[in-house]
Subunit: 228 residues, 2 copies
DNA sequence: TAAAAACTGTTGCATTTGCAACAGAATCAC
DNA sequence: GTGATTCTGTTGCAAATGCAACAGTTTTTA
């Protein structure tokens, strides 16, 4: 395995805390190999289950949910280091999303079953990997929960306020950037792009926030909080 | 341990598939004992982390989320057999909810750390328990994801349609009941109770559904689907 | 059993939002 | 560099929703 790949794996939450030798030891028993995909190929079918955990080593991909109406909703963009199928592998659920390569991809697959069945001598390493997996799944749960709380807010203004207070909580009244375009933010907050723009403009006019593109500044967080 | 308790535990997803002797074998190393709570006492503080998984053996409790505004939002009602703290134990996150006893409670606590560190001889049992835990967390993830999809619908009508199609998918055009009061359903769907009532009435008037209390019937599911 | 509390449907009205269309700015591909 | 594509803010208007108040019903509690 390439040193660059090892570095990449070490940066994932799944292998967090694993030294290179530990990785070399833990990987062979759980790996079921790498696969490559051309741009446009499916890494994961919607509606399918899987027992394998995928780690994107190179390339990029998109998780897309297709509504009953046929409308396509972008769920996530996957970059190298991204882990997918982890929540799926542990349950008997079917994937609500399809994952498609947006560029040529290389993916490392791990077997969930083998991950559970570590041999006695490698048990300590296996445990750590398993604990990381559980932590990864749990964290995804809380990310979803956070978003759900935003969606429960009844007005766009409140959603924006709650979102920005969360995203900028560490920045205080210093500027910070968000990882969304306006259109993507509208999707995330479950509202219309134009309606979101309108509301952000209004809030800026009222002095609740300052905006420039993806960069925001909250001159008076307490005023924003008062909007909730 | 009481036979009734064993029966109860066997019905939980966490101990699904465990025979009574297996339970007796697996429980001692992971249990950190039972605690009792009086009505009104806190089983879990909001904002706290935990390394323990709680299983409600007797009594009842409520998970409540307190918004920044102080508004209280009921998240779940816990009945005997309910498992809580499972998602929390595996991550370093803090609890977004507080769990309060609504009646005198008895709770069995398991140590997540010990669950990870099963001895070699009990490893197979430990693995199964761990797999069940992962399945439980993953299932909770998908439940959340389902709800999120409802909340992403932009009109109440669409949320109701999507919800009923999901809830009644097995019933076909036979009547089925939902586990929510109107007020609770409004919370679940993230809308106003009165607005929900209004919309359900309209949909009934249009022949999209038949209602009586918590019991619904979908005479023509395809018409409902067309609303999405 | 009676009183209290909780649940439900209805309705008028003000507010919010989706939708559609457009034009300018920014970004990307070639 | 330039043409094409995507991103963004704005605005008018119709539709949807929150909010508040009320009355009838059901359920809980004492």
């Amino acid at each position: 395995m390439q040193p660059a790949t090892v570095k990449l794996l070490q940066k994932t939450q799944l292998f967090q805390g694993f030294s290179a030798p530990e990785l070399a030891r833990v990987l062979p028993p759980v790996s079921v190999g790498q696969r490559t995909y051309a741009k446009g190929q499916l890494l994961l079918h919607a509606g399918s289950g899987t027992q394998e955990i995928g780690i994107l080593l190179a390339g990029s991909a998109e998780a897309v949910k297709t509504a009953r109406t046929g409308a396509q909703l972008l769920v996530t963009r996957l970059k190298p280091g991204a882990v997918f199928g982890d929540v799926l592998a542990g349950s008997h659920a079917k994937s609500p999303v399809a994952i498609t390569a947006t560029a040529a991809c290389r993916v490392l697959f791990l077997s969930y079953r083998r991950l559970l069945q570590f041999s006695a001598e490698d048990a300590p390493l296996g445990r750590r990997l398993l604990a990381n997996l559980v932590a990864e799944i749990s964290d995804k749960y809380f990310l979803l929960d956070d978003r759900l709380n935003l969606l429960l807010q009844k007005t766009i203004r409140k959603r924006v306020a709650a979102f920005l207070l969360g995203a900028g909580s560490e920045a205080g009244s210093a500027p910070f950037s968000i990882p969304f375009t306006r259109a993507a933010l509208a999707d995330y907050l479950g509202c219309e792009r134009s309606a979101l723009s309108r509301e952000i403009s209004r809030m800026a006019a009222e002095g609740l926030l300052e905006v420039q593109g993806r960069t925001f500044r909250l001159p008076a967080p307490e005023k924003l909080r008062a909007q909730l």
